[in-house]
């Protein structure tokens, strides 16, 4: 089943409390998938430095890892440490940091990287993730959340959403893709890296590949309608943008709502009902095969 939620702030007031709002949304969707939960927040840009969200095996010495990264890149610091995963800030571009990590800490998985994205995911309920990773106290410009009912791959943190395969790009998916194995092989030939055998990660990788080739987010999603086979409702976050897309048959539920202060997408209305002003929001069911996008560039300062 799975539950997905996305929240895009249009006012400073919502930005300040985005973690709390997105957390409330995700809790409402807990019944749609108790296997794992994840949240991606786009916040606190550190450009030209990078942030990397890292997942490590039990007992990973994050302090030692950060010290090593600091020696290699001048400065590195732990933004937040949740034991099984951390967000690490490194004064370098994310690509160089990834190469250094793969050479010195091959046991560590990079679950997200970029100037803004911070990603938390864990096996278990949304409430456990939200409290354990202090998501509710975080500000952010926009964010995505997911509660998973596993169908296509094992219940493990690495197989949990959101999936991020490109810098400041991530995706949450409700549905199931049929041609992910073939597409993964093709994308690997194009140099896209995948960490799991999960179908949703392939969708994220596909979008990253299209964006890398010069498409904008809307164009990448239009192309996805032709190239992805299966059923899906996607919510996608980029550094400045937020998008929603459903497959042409619209198997999976989705509700969109917008006020002067926010844009929200969720699998069910009850996740939107918890937002301030929800009762008076403009609300609609996104049409099948239609790309909806919002961009921070379009929002007045």
């Amino acid at each position: 089943m799975c539950g997905i939620a996305g929240l895009f702030a249009k006012s400073a007031e919502i930005e300040r409390a985005l973690g709390a709002h997105l957390g409330s949304m995700l809790e409402q969707l807990g019944e749609r998938g108790p296997d794992s939960a994840g949240v991606a927040l786009f916040r606190d840009r550190v450009a030209p430095a990078s942030k990397l969200s890292l997942l490590g095996p039990d007992g990973t010495d994050w302090v030692r890892l950060a010290a090593g990264a600091g020696d290699a890149f001048g400065t590195a610091s732990i933004v937040c440490d949740h034991g099984d995963h951390v967000v690490l800030r490194i004064d370098s571009d994310a690509g160089a940091a990834r190469i250094w990590l793969s050479e010195h800490h091959p046991e560590v998985v990079v679950i997200a990287s970029g100037h803004a994205i911070e990603l938390h995911k864990r096996v278990g309920s949304p409430a456990a993730l939200l409290d354990g990773c202090r998501v509710r106290s975080q500000d952010a410009t926009h964010g995505l959340g997911h509660t998973r009912m596993a169908t296509e791959s094992r219940v493990m943190t690495a197989g949990s959403h959101p999936f991020s395969t490109g810098e400041d790009l991530c995706l949450v998916h409700n549905g199931s893709l049929s041609n992910h194995n073939r597409l993964r092989r093709e994308l690997r030939r194009q140099g896209v890296r995948f960490a799991t055998e999960n179908d949703s990660e392939v969708a994220a990788g596909y979008l990253m590949w299209r964006l890398r080739d010069g498409s904008n987010l809307a164009q990448a999603l239009e192309a996805a309608l032709d190239d992805l086979d299966g059923f899906f409702t996607f919510a996608v976050g980029t550094r400045d943008g937020f998008a929603v897309l459903r497959d042409p048959i619209a198997c999976k539920p989705a509700v969109l709502a917008e006020t002067d202060n926010w844009v929200a997408m969720a699998s069910e209305y009850r996740a939107i009902a918890v937002l301030p002003g929800a009762a008076d929001a403009e609300m609609w069911e996104p049409e099948p095969a239609r790309v909806y996008t919002w961009s921070r560039g379009a929002v007045p300062a």
């Binding site: 048959i249 619209a250 539920p253 509700v255 069910e268 209305y269 009850r270 996740a271 939107i272 009902a273 918890v274 009762a279 609300m283 609609w284 069911e285 049409e287 099948p288």
Partner: protein
Amino acid sequence: MSAVQATVCELDLRALGLRAVNYALHQGRAGTAFEVLNPDGVHALAAGLTSELAVDVRGHAGYYCAGMNQHATVRVRGNAGVGVGENMMSGRIEVHGSVGQSAAASAHGGMLVVGGDAAARCGISLKGANIVVRGSVGHSSAFMAQTGRLVVLGDAGAGLGDSIYEARLYVRGSVADRGADCIEKPMRDEHVRELTELLTAAGITDAAATEFRRFGSARTLYHWQPSRGTI
């Protein structure tokens, strides 16, 4: 109106919870009027009612609102999610806003009136109910509809009436495309009369039956015809 009918029983869903609210509705005697406050999009609200109640939902409802309804009149002053009025047998459901997919799916009787749009598969497998949608309906509406009427004041999405049996579909706006075995049929006097009655029953006064086109079954899928070639 008796004094009893004038009394409205208020149920605050946020305070009472869904089970208590549905229980109270199920216990309501015929003629009782209820107001449900703070519905917050919960699922299965006012489902399975069997008495002539008047239920006024003050906000948005989640999935399967008023499903399996018999006799009751349920009014939603907001939107309703997937499957509103699914398998309704009788009574009336009015949604002031828009409704999610599969509205009045498989409904046998009664009437669903939607003030806004209905998403995909509105009236799927319709079995006798009447549906009036002021806005537009999504794709695959009235899929395999067997009997009943679907009235759309706006537009219909792709695949209208695919594999339809005997339901009648009236559309005022455009039809993206018709599904298999669904054809346009002439609006004869009896259809204008029927549609006028449906519009009146739905409280619609700004649309005339003559502005609509009628769609129904070509009946070519009823029997396998060897002459139509190989499978």
